[in-house]
Structure formats: structure tokens, C-alpha cells
């Protein structure tokens, strides 16, 4: 695996200068490699991981299961790509099993999710049915356990 990517995946948030010292590269080389990972669509981007209950007053998240009739040319891609264009859609996956597409949406409130499902998703050609589930509480978000208490107390110098 690309050394820069491996270091990024370890999850420590390091500046280009820090990564450069760890990997014996120049900061410019680190940045060039990151740009290349982006060009190759391996690294899609950076986003902060927020605790979902941070804005629970003003945001709701829902998971929507969609059944879709596949098209002769392109299968599920056209519908899935179209759905992915909406800003409210955080993620969109093709699934095996009882339904076809799993769509995760973010909206300001419950009604906006309802409207989105009713006015947008359900009306797309090829969408056969929808099933909407609201998320109640997050326990782990993108690898971060939310309840995990303070770091354990560790002596700064030991034998």
C-alpha cells in the first residue's frame, strides 16, 4: 500500500510536515501523493466526524431502503447515481438481499425527510417501494465510539 495512505489510515491527524518527517519525504511530495490519491478516486476527501447528537435539535438522519426495477442497460446505476446527486443524501449503496438501494439521508427535521421520500425518491422512474427508518441514537460513528469515557489514566513515566 502507498505509504502516505497507510499513514493516513492509522488515524493520527498529522500535518504534511509531520507526515514528511515520518516518511522521509518533503511536504511537497506528501501533498503530491495525496493529490494523486484524490485523482485516482482512492481518497475521496476529508470530512470532520461529528457526534450526531451534537445537533440533534436541528438534524435528523434516516436510512431508506429502496426496491428498484433494474434497467436493461445500466442495471441500478442510473437510479442510484441520480439519487446520489441530492445534497440530503449522505451515502447510497447497492445491497444484496430484501431491497436494492440503501440511502442514508440527513435533513433538518422529520417532515423534510418525509417530503424527500414522498416527493423525490418515490417518484423516480424505476423506484418500486421505499421503507424509511429514523435513527434514534448513535453509539459509534465512522470508527469513533461515542460513549467511550475519558482516556485511561496512564502514568507519564514508568519503569
Amino acid at each position: 500500500m502507498n505509504k502516505v495512505l497507510k499513514l493516513i489510515l492509522e488515524g493520527e491527524q498529522l500535518s504534511s510536515e509531520q507526515m514528511a518527517r515520518v516518511l522521509e519525504l518533503t511536504p511537497a511530495e506528501v501533498e503530491a501523493q495525496i493529490a494523486q490519491l484524490k485523482d485516482e478516486k482512492i481518497l475521496l476527501g476529508w470530512r470532520p466526524v461529528l457526534n450526531p447528537s451534537f445537533d440533534e435539535e436541528t438534524r435528523v438522519r434516516a436510512v431508506i431502503e429502496l426496491k428498484v426495477s433494474p434497467e436493461v442497460s445500466g442495471g441500478f446505476d442510473r437510479v442510484a447515481e441520480r439519487i446520489s446527486q441530492f445534497d440530503q443524501v449522505e451515502s447510497c449503496y447497492l445491497m444484496s438481499g430484501a431491497y436494492d438501494l440503501l440511502v442514508i439521508v440527513n435533513a433538518d427535521n422529520l417532515y423534510k425527510v418525509a417530503n424527500f421520500v414522498h416527493n423525490r425518491l418515490a417518484r423516480i422512474d424505476g423506484v418500486l417501494s421505499t421503507g424509511t427508518h429514523f435513527m434514534l441514537r448513535a453509539y459509534k460513528e465512522s470508527g469513533y465510539a461515542i460513549a467511550a469515557s475519558e482516556a485511561p489514566e496512564r502514568l507519564p513515566v514508568t519503569q
Binding site: R21, V22, P156, V157, T158, Q159
Partner: protein, 376 residues
């Protein structure tokens, strides 16, 4: 008997805000969750009674398999293995079991801070053999021969070594074994860092013909499985010595914590993958810190095992203690002076790389600034 030199440092560092510590002598990982999960289940199911003094038989059977597979000696789980409260207890108990007042024990320095005091607490004489940077802190047979004197009952070795990261090759261990047989010495081998051997495989002295019957093998879960707070370790050896340890353990401790013993079973059965992942991280951090020290002009060999680098600080003209204290007060970076591990640690400091890249990087930038300030 003096307090451990590390304590004084701890007292200063713990008062300091935004100190970067390279002084930590334990894994910076939390115990892998599958191991903690077994401990949680043990508690839920009410496994809170005493165990056999020697420890759970299921654990001793796992230890027996593990030691046979990885260290090359077979031990009977009924009679030749005892579970203890860390290697700390095992070390203390084996010394008390074998030593009479006035006996002598050879050990190598720089070494783990407990060795010399533990020997002295048995009213025995502790004879230090120096190890040197040019030998990558492996003991030499010449030094060992020179140190030997009548009345030496045991030789205490620790490879990979805390604080130097020194290791011993098979050839060296064969020579040590020959010498131990010639002088009829017991060998106590503390192999607590053995899984954390980065280049090539670890060899245990117990695998050398003729040694199993005169060696007490000490090992535990603290370092390899990041289980320091569980307090569980073990000793394997000839039944008569284990019986001696058993008496001391039975009256003084009773048994190792039950929940920790169950967690230890899980570590041996299913912990290899997490252990290897942690080792790989230590290896990468070792490569980074050793390279940075050398770039800064602090000569530092690449330790083959453990999570300690032991840079030579003599180029600064300071003693280990002056260097460590100066660095701490000027730049708030904690390293442990080499002299905390024996007088021949003079000229060196111990830097633990069991910490994040960001900490190592920051510590090295501060050390660089400190070194520059010394030149003015």
C-alpha cells in the same frame, strides 16, 4: 535501599502541563477489545472466586501449548507452570525460592529497575555485568566469565532488554548455556518483551539442550497484549523450583486475579492477530525515532526488540541526569536517564516509542531545539 530513580522523574513530569513523555514503560494501546470482552463476561457470569494457587488449569494448559510452540520447551501444566501477579511477582518469588542469604546472582546492566533490589531483598549479593552499545547491549561471554565468582547461584537475563532493546542471538545463548552448565548456575530468563522482536525470531535459552532443567522461564501478558493493569504473568520451570515458588505465592498472594486469568486465556487463544498489529506499529515508530535521533546527532542503535530506544547523549557533554533534567525543564520532554538502570547506563537516556507519531515528532523537534541551545 534507594527508591527507583524513575519515581523522581515521575513526580516532576506529572506536575507539568503539556510535557511530552518518552518515559512510558508500557504499551500505549488499550487491551484489545476481544480480551476485555472476555473479562467483562467473566465478571457478568460471576467468576469472582479464588482459583487454584497455580492458576486456572485451562490457562496453564494454554501457557504450556504457547511456550512449547514459541519458545521450544514443553512444561507440564500440572507441575511445572505457575500463574503469578505479573512477571514482577514471578521474579520476586523465584529469587526468594532459590536464594539463601549470601548467595550471589549475576545480572546484566543497564537493566530493568527491579532486578538488583529484588536480589538484595533476598539478602543475596547482586553482581552486575555491563553491556555495551558496541555489542548492541547483548551480554558478552568474556564479561560473564570475568564477573563469575564462587557462590554464584543464578544468572538473571532479560532479552529483549528493558531499557536498551538488546537481544541475544542463538549462538550467544548457546555460549551462555555452556557457561551456566559448567558453573552449575540456574538461569532466570525474563522474556516479557519476546513477542516484540522486530527483526528475525526470538530465541529462548530454554530451547537449548541441557537448559530446560536449569532455567526458570518468566513471561507475562503486560507488554505483548497490552495488559499491564490485568497483573498476570507466569513462571515455567523444573517442578521442584515451581514448588518453591508455589509456597511463597500460596502464603503471600494466594492466586493471580481470576478475571485476569480468564482474559489471559483469551489472549493466548485468539490474541495473535492484535499482538502482531501492535508489534508492526511499534516497529514503524522505532524506525522513526531511531532515524530522528541519529539525524539530531544523538547516536542511537536500532533496538531489535522491546519498545525502547537508548540514544547516546555523550556528544552533548552532559551526564545522563543533566541531560534528562535539562531537557525536562527547558523543553518539557521526559526521557529517563540511563543511570536509573544501572551506573553503566551513564551516557544514555531511555526513550520509549510506545507513543504516537505526533508525540515522537514533537519530542524530537523540542530535543533539536534543546541541543541547539546547548551549543550557544
Amino acid at each position: 535501599m534507594p527508591k527507583s530513580g524513575i519515581r523522581d522523574f515521575f513526580a516532576i513530569v506529572s506536575q507539568m502541563k503539556d510535557a511530552v513523555s518518552l518515559g512510558i514503560g508500557e504499551p500505549d494501546f488499550v487491551t484489545p477489545f476481544h480480551i476485555r470482552d472476555v473479562a467483562i463476561s467473566a465478571l457478568e457470569r460471576g467468576h469472582t472466586s479464588y482459583t487454584d494457587n497455580r492458576g486456572l488449569i485451562a490457562l496453564r494448559k494454554e501457557i504450556s501449548k504457547y511456550v512449547a510452540a514459541n519458545y521450544g520447551a514443553e512444561y507440564n501444566p500440572e507441575t511445572e507452570i505457575i500463574t503469578t501477579v505479573g512477571v514482577s511477582e514471578a521474579l520476586d518469588a523465584v529469587l526468594r525460592a532459590i536464594l539463601n542469604p549470601g548467595d550471589k546472582v549475576i545480572y546484566h546492566e543497564p537493566c530493568y529497575v527491579s532486578y538488583c533490589p529484588s536480589i538484595k531483598l533476598c539478602h543475596a549479593e547482586a553482581i552486575a555485568v555491563e553491556t555495551k552499545a558496541e555489542d548492541k547491549f547483548a551480554i558478552t561471554i568474556e564479561a560473564l566469565r570475568k564477573a563469575w565468582q564462587p557462590g554464584v547461584k543464578a544468572l538473571l537475563i532479560n532479552f529483549p532488554t528493558n531499557p536498551t532493546g538488546g537481544t541475544a542471538s542463538r549462538e550467544l545463548l548457546e555460549e551462555i548455556a555452556k557457561f551456566a552448565i559448567e558453573k552449575d548456575m540456574l538461569v532466570i530468563s525474563d522474556e516479557i518483551y519476546s513477542e516484540l522482536t522486530f527483526d528475525g525470531n526470538h530465541t529462548s535459552i530454554v530451547s537449548i539442550p541441557g537448559m530446560r532443567e536449569r532455567t526458570v522461564f518468566l513471561h507475562g501478558f503486560s507488554k505483548a497484549y497490552a495488559m499491564t493493569g490485568f497483573r498476570v504473568g507466569y513462571a515455567c520451570g523444573p517442578a521442584d523450583i515451581i514448588d518453591g515458588i508455589l509456597k511463597i505465592h500460596q502464603y503471600g498472594i494466594l492466586c493471580a486475579p481470576t478475571i485476569s486469568q480468564e482474559a489471559a486465556i483469551e489472549a493466548l487463544r485468539n490474541g495473535r492477530k492484535s499482538m502482531l498489529e501492535m508489534r508492526e506499529k511499534y516497529r514503524e515508530r522505532r524506525d522513526f525515532i531511531v532515524r530522528r535521533f541519529n539525524e539530531l546527532g544523538l547516536r542511537c542503535h536500532s533496538p531489535r526488540g522491546s519498545f525502547y530506544a537508548f540514544p547516546d547523549i555523550t556528544s552533548t557533554g552532559l551526564s545522563s541526569m543533566e541531560f534528562a533534567k535539562g531537557l525536562l525543564s527547558a523543553e518539557r520532554v521526559a526521557m529517563v536517564p540511563g543511570t536509573a538502570f544501572g551506573s553503566c547506563g551513564e551516557g544514555f537516556c531511555r526513550a520509549s516509542f510506545s507513543t504516537s507519531y505526533a508525540n515522537i515528532d514533537e519530542a524530537c523537534l523540542r530535543i533539536e531545539r534543546f541541543l541547539k541551545s546547548l551549543k550557544h
